[in-house]
Assembly symmetry: C2
Homo-oligomer: 661 residues x 2
C-alpha cells in the first residue's frame, strides 16, 4: 500500500462502510452486491486479457464468449431479479455494453409486451434459449429521434397473407441497432404499415434475418456491422437493408393493432402503452451517470493523492497534487455531483416503482410529471457526467491519456448516453414543453401540484412586479434549504423568460411553431434550471434521511459545495433575477474555497465509499493500493507493440531509407 | 452534389475565395498551399487504406512508411521553408502526429541550438540522413511539468571520462517521448548532472539506445512502447530505463554548460536560451486550435444542412437540422470561435517573428509579455477547441459516434494539446503571475505598456471607488469596439479580485506561497478573462484590415456573435463588476438570437472558406458534395467485421450454447 493513500484513509472523519450502505440502499443490499461481484471475480471463465490490447474483432469475440457464459451462469445461479441480473452483467462486462444487450433488454421485453399468445409460443421460448437471437431495429441511417419520419415499409399482400418489407431508399437503411450486425438472427423491425392502399403508421414486425442453421443472411437481406465507432468495440451495431422480404401475416406483433387476413386494419386500443418503458430506461440512465462519474472521480482523486508535482513552498518536497486548490476545484464539485446524481437516481428509481404500482391500478396521473422529469434529468445528468469524466481525465495530466488509466474507455463508453434513448437537446425541449404547459395552467388560474408547484408562487411574484434592484429575500449562503429556494426561484424566472420570448414571437405574428423554435435556447435554459433545482432539492431531502452524524456532516458539506458551485457557475442567472446580490455571489465563491479545504481530508474516503473493486475499475491510476507507477510499467511492457524488440517497420522502411538518403 | 448543400452555397452573400485568401494570408499563399496539397493528394505512394480499419501496430507501420517517404520527397521537391514543410507533412499524415515528429521537431533543433561544432559533425549529418533517429526524453513516469523534479542521473566518472546514466527509481523511468518506443536509436536524455560529488542540475546528453546495425536495444537500456492511448495510434510514445549506461564525456551537449575532463563543471552563460522555442511552439498551438475547431465545424455544419429531422411545422417536410435554433446555437458560436482563434494564431505567429528579429538584435523587452500571452492563450484556445470539437460531434447525433465521421479521431488527436507543452492550468497560472506582477507595478506607481496597459486604467477606476450599483459607462451592445472595452474592464476587475484574495490571505498570516495557492481559482479566472479580452480585441483589429465589403460584413457578424456569446456565457462577471446592467444582458441574448438567423444563410460558405479538401477531412459527414449516407454505407460495408458474413464467434460460442440451454 502506498503510504500517501494509506495516510489519507486514516484522516477520514467518517465510517466509509456506513456511507457505502447508504449508497447501496442498506447493508443487506451491499452484502448481496458484493456476493454477486465475487461470483464473477472468482470465476476462472471470466479471467480475461486486457481488452486494450485486442483488435475490435477480438473484443467482439470475447464479448460474445462472455455473454454466452453469462446467460448459462445466471440460470445456474438462479439469479432472476432484474437488479441482480444488472449487477452480475455489469461485473462480467465491466460496465461495457455487449452484443446481447438488445436481445435481453429490447427483444424479449417487446415480445412480452406486444406479442399475442400464439406469437409467445412461437418466439419467446426459442428466444429465451438463444436459438432465436433478436434485436430491435428502429433507427434508420437518415432518421433518428423523429419516429414518424422512418421510411421502411411493410406492405400487406392479401394474396399470400404476407407482409413485404422494403428499404425503399438509402436513408431508410436500418442503422445502429446493437447486435444487428453479426449476432442476431431475428429483428423486430419498425416499419410503416401499408394495407389496402393506405398507410397506418409505424408497427413492429418480427423478421428472420439469418438462417437458423448456418447463420448466413437470408434472401433479400443485406446485413452487417456499421464499422468502428468511438467506443462500443464489443457491440456489433448493425445495418439492415430489406428488399422484398416476405414474412407471414402472423409475424406482425398483434397484441394491440391487427391486420386481418383480408388486409383490413384494426387500431390499437391505446397508443401510450410503451411510454412507461421509455421513462424507466431514462431514469436508469440517471443512476448510470452517477456511477460513471463516480468511477472517474475515484481514479482522479486516488491518483491525485499519490502524484507529487511542482512545489507550493520552495525547497520543500513536491506536494500531492490534491493539495493544489485548482485540482480540488476541478475534482470536488464533480465528486459532489456524483453523490447528488446518485441520490437523484435512487429517487427516480423509487418513484418509477411507486408509480408503476399506481399505473397497474389504472392511475396514470403522475406519469406525465415523471416523463418530463426523466427526459430532462437524463439530459442534465448525462451532459454533466460526460464533460465531468473528461475533466477528471485531464486532471490526471499525461497519464489520463493512457488507456491503462481506464478514463478514455469510461468516456467513450458513457458519452453515447447523451444521444441514445432520446437526444439530449430534444429531451430538454420535452421537459420545457411540460414546464410551459404548467406555466400556462397557472396563468389560466389553475394550481399545480408536484414538482412544478413552484410555478404557482412564481406567478405571485411576477404579479408584484418588484423592481430589479430590490433586495432579494434574505438568503443564507450557508443554509442548503435557503439555497434550494434560490434555485427554485431561478427556475421559475427562466420558465417565465422562455414563456415571454414565445409571447413576443407570437406578437410578431410568428406561428406557434416558429415562436417555439425561436425561443428554443430559452426553453433549454429553463429546463436546465428546473433540473438543477430538482437535484439540489433531492440532495437536501436525502440529508434528512441520514442518521449517522459523521456521515451526515460530510454529505452536508458535499451538498453545500454542489449548490454553491452551481451558483458560482451560473451567477449571471441569479444576479439577473435579483435573487442574489453581488456581495452574496462573492461570499459564495469565498465559501466555496473554504469547503474545498474542508473536504480535502475526506476525499479518498468519499471515493472509497463508492466501493468499486480494482477488477471493475481496471485502472492503473485508480488502484486501491495506490501503486500506480509499478502497475503502469508492467502494463506497458506487456502491450502488443512490445512483443518484439524490433518492429517490422524498421526493416521494411527505415533501414532501406538510410542507404538512400 | 446534394441539392440542399448546393442551395446553401448559392445563398452565400460573399465570395468564399476572398475569405480563403484572408485566412491563408494572401492569394499567393493560398495558391502555394494548394500546390503542396496536390503534391500529396496526387501521389500514388500516399494513397492509403482507411486507418480506422487497421490495428494499432498496422497504423504505426503505415505511419513509419509514410514518414520515410515524406523525408525523401521533401528533399526531392526541395521543400525547405518550415511553413511549407508543415503543410506537406500535415497533408501526408492528415494532421496526425507521426513517429518522426520528435526527430524533426526536437532532436535536430536541439542539436542546432546546443551542440558544439564537434558534436554537430558527429551527430547532425547522420541524423539529417536518418542513420541516427533521435527523440527528446524529458518527462518521467512520475514527473511532468516540474522539471526540477526529474530524477534521472548522469554521474561523471573521470577515470574513464564517461557519464554513467541511471534511472534510480520506478518514478524516474522516462515516459511519453514520441518515437522513443520503437523508432529511435538515439535519445537526448535530460538528467541531473553529478560531478565531483555535487549535483549541477538538469543537462542534456546524447544517449545511443539501439544498435545502429540491428536496432536491438543496447546493454543497460530497457526501452519500449508505453501502450495504447486515447488516440496517437501512429506514435510510439515510449519508456526508457537506464542502468549504468556509459556514454563518452563528449556526448553531453556542451555548447553552453561544460564538464571538463577532470570533472570540473563550467556554468552556462545564460539560462534563458531555450525560452523562445517554447513560446514559438505554444503560439503554433493557438493556430492549431483554430484549424482543428474549423475542421469540426465544417463537418457539423455541412452535415446539418443535409440532415433532415423532426418537424417545426406539423405536416411539412422534415427541416434541415441547421434550421433549429438550438443547432445554430451549438454551432455558430464555435464557428465564430474558429475564426477568432485563427486571427489570434496569425497575430501570435507575426508577433513571434517580429520579436525574434528584436531578440537577435539583443532586445528582449517584448519576450516576457509574449511568453505570458502564449501560455494563457495556449490554454484558453485548446480548452475551448477541445470541448468545442465534442460539441460539434454531439450535434451530429448518432453518426457523430461513427469513426467515419472523423470527429472521434479529431478529438483524440487534438485533446492532448490541453496537457502537452505545458499543462493548461499551470499555463493559466503562469499568465496570472505576469498579470499580478503587472498589477503590482501599477500599484507601485509604474505605467505599463503593451497588452496589459489596461491595468493602468483599472487602477484609476479603483481609486474612484464607484458604488457597485452605479450605472456603467454607456455600452453599445451592437458595437464591437464598445464590447472590447467591456471585456477589458472585466479582465481588470478579475485581476484586481485575484490580487485582493492574495492580499487577504497574507493578512491572515499565510505565507506568500500559500496565499498564491489559496487564490489559484481567482488567478485562473483572471487569466481566462485576460485571454478572452485579447481574443475579442484581436478579432476587432483584424476587421480593420479587411477591404472587401461583403467579407467584412459577414466577419463583423461573426465577431459580434463571438463577443456577445462570451457575455451571455459569463454574464455573472459582467453584472458583478457592474459593467453591464440586467437589461443590457437581456438585450445581448436577444441580439444573439438575431445574429444566429443572420448567419444562417452564410454558414456553409463560411466553413467552405476554410478550404479543407475531402481527402484531408476524411469524413463521411463533412463531404463537400453532401452525399453523406451513400458514403457511410459504402464505408461500413468495407469495414473489417464484414469481411466474412458469419463471424467466427458464432461457431465458437453461440451455436454450442443453443444446444445446452
Amino acid at each position: 500500500m502506498n503510504p500517501d493513500i494509506q495516510r489519507e484513509r486514516k484522516n477520514a472523519s467518517f465510517d466509509v462502510e456506513k456511507l457505502t450502505h447508504i449508497l447501496d440502499g442498506g447493508p443487506e443490499k451491499t452484502r448481496r452486491r458484493r456476493e454477486i461481484e465475487l461470483l464473477v471475480i472468482n470465476d476462472p471463465d471470466f479471467q480475461h486479457e486486457d481488452l486494450n490490447f485486442l483488435s475490435r474483432s477480438e473484443r467482439y469475440d470475447r464479448a460474445v464468449k462472455k455473454s454466452a457464459q453469462m446467460i448459462q451462469k445466471l440460470r445456474e445461479y438462479n439469479i432472476a431479479d432484474p437488479e441482480e441480473i444488472y449487477c452480475y452483467k455489469s461485473c462480467v462486462h465491466c460496465g461495457r455494453p455487449e452484443p446481447l444487450d438488445l436481445h435481453l433488454g429490447m427483444f424479449l421485453p417487446t415480445l412480452l409486451n406486444q406479442a399475442t399468445p400464439e406469437q409467445m409460443d412461437r418466439f419467446f421460448m426459442p428466444a429465451w434459449n438463444l436459438e432465436i437471437i433478436g434485436t430491435y431495429a428502429q433507427t434508420e441511417i437518415g432518421h433518428g429521434t423523429h419516429l414518424r419520419g422512418l421510411e421502411t415499409t411493410a406492405t400487406y399482400d392479401p394474396a399470400t397473407q404476407e407482409f413485404v418489407l422494403n428499404s425503399p431508399t438509402i436513408s431508410s437503411i436500418k442503422w445502429w441497432p446493437g447486435g444487428l450486425g453479426k449476432t442476431s438472427n431475428h429483428a423486430i423491425v419498425l416499419a410503416q404499415l401499408h394495407s389496402q392502399g393506405r398507410c397506418h403508421g409505424l408497427h413492429a414486425f418480427i423478421v428472420p434475418i439469418r438462417s437458423m442453421s448456418t447463420h448466413e443472411p437470408l434472401p433479400g437481406i443485406t446485413v452487417g456491422d456499421i464499422g468502428p465507432k468511438f467506443g462500443f468495440d464489443e457491440v456489433d451495431n448493425g445495418y439492415l437493408k430489406l428488399k422484398n422480404v416476405r414474412i407471414p401475416r402472423e409475424n406482425m406483433l398483434m397484441k394491440y393493432a391487427k391486420v386481418e387476413p383480408d388486409g383490413s386494419y384494426v387500431k390499437p386500443p391505446s397508443a401510450k402503452l410503451t411510454y412507461g418503458t421509455m421513462v424507466f430506461i431514462r431514469s436508469m440512465i440517471v443512476g448510470q451517470s452517477a456511477r460513471t462519474l463516480a468511477k472517474a472521480c475515484i481514479i482522479a482523486i486516488r491518483y491525485s493523492t499519490v502524484r507529487h508535482q511542482s512545489e507550493i513552498r520552495p525547497g520543500e518536497p513536491e506536494p500531492q497534487i490534491l493539495d493544489y486548490q485548482t485540482q480540488q476545484y476541478k475534482l470536488f464539485p464533480l465528486l459532489a455531483t456524483a453523490y447528488a446524481f446518485h441520490f437523484v437516481g435512487q429517487y427516480m428509481n423509487n418513484t418509477y416503482h411507486r408509480i408503476t404500482g399506481d399505473i397497474s391500478q389504472g392511475d396514470f396521473s403522475e406519469l406525465p410529471e415523471l416523463h418530463a422529469l426523466s427526459a430532462g434529468l437524463k439530459a442534465f445528468t448525462t451532459w454533466t457526467a460526460s464533460s465531468g469524466i473528461e475533466a477528471c481525465r485531464m486532471s490526471c495530466g499525461g497519464h489520463g491519456y493512457s488507456r491503462s488509466s481506464a478514463l478514455p474507455d469510461i468516456y467513450v463508453t458513457f458519452t453515447p448516453t447523451c444521444t441514445y434513448e432520446g437526444e439530449n437537446t430534444v429531451m430538454m425541449l420535452q421537459t420545457a414543453r411540460y414546464l410551459l404547459k404548467s406555466y400556462r395552467q397557472v396563468q389560466a388560474g389553475q394550481r399545480l401540484n408536484g414538482i412544478v408547484s413552484y410555478l404557482n408562487d412564481a406567478e405571485q411574484q411576477r404579479v408584484q412586479a418588484r423592481p430589479v434592484s430590490a433586495r432579494p429575500t434574505v438568503v443564507n449562503i450557508n443554509d442548503l434549504a435557503s439555497l434550494v429556494e434560490v434555485y427554485k426561484l431561478r427556475a421559475a424566472k427562466l420558465v417565465e423568460l422562455a414563456a415571454k420570448s414565445i409571447q413576443q414571437e407570437l406578437q410578431r405574428r410568428k406561428s406557434q411553431e416558429d415562436a417555439w423554435n425561436n425561443s428554443a435556447i430559452d426553453l433549454v435554459r429553463a429546463s436546465d434550471a428546473h433540473c438543477h433545482y430538482v437535484v439540489v432539492k433531492l440532495f437536501l431531502a436525502k440529508l434528512g434521511e441520514i442518521g449517522d452524524t459523521a456521515v451526515h456532516s460530510v454529505l452536508s458539506t458535499l451538498a453545500l459545495l454542489y449548490a454553491l458551485h452551481g451558483i458560482a457557475q451560473n451567477s449571471g442567472d441569479f444576479l439577473q433575477a435579483a435573487l442574489l446580490t453581488v456581495p452574496q455571489v462573492l461570499q459564495a465563491t469565498v465559501r466555496l474555497k473554504e469547503l474545498l479545504s474542508q473536504l480535502r481530508p475526506n476525499a479518498v474516503a468519499l471515493v472509497d465509499a463508492f466501493d468499486y473493486r480494482d477488477q471493475m475499475l481496471n485502472s492503473s491510476l485508480g488502484r486501491y493500493d495506490g501503486n500506480v507507477y509499478e502497475h503502469m510499467f508492467d502494463w506497458a511492457r506487456s502491450s502488443p507493440l512490445n512483443c518484439t524488440e524490433v518492429h517490422e517497420s524498421y526493416h521494411k522502411y527505415l533501414k532501406p531509407l538510410q542507404s538512400k538518403l
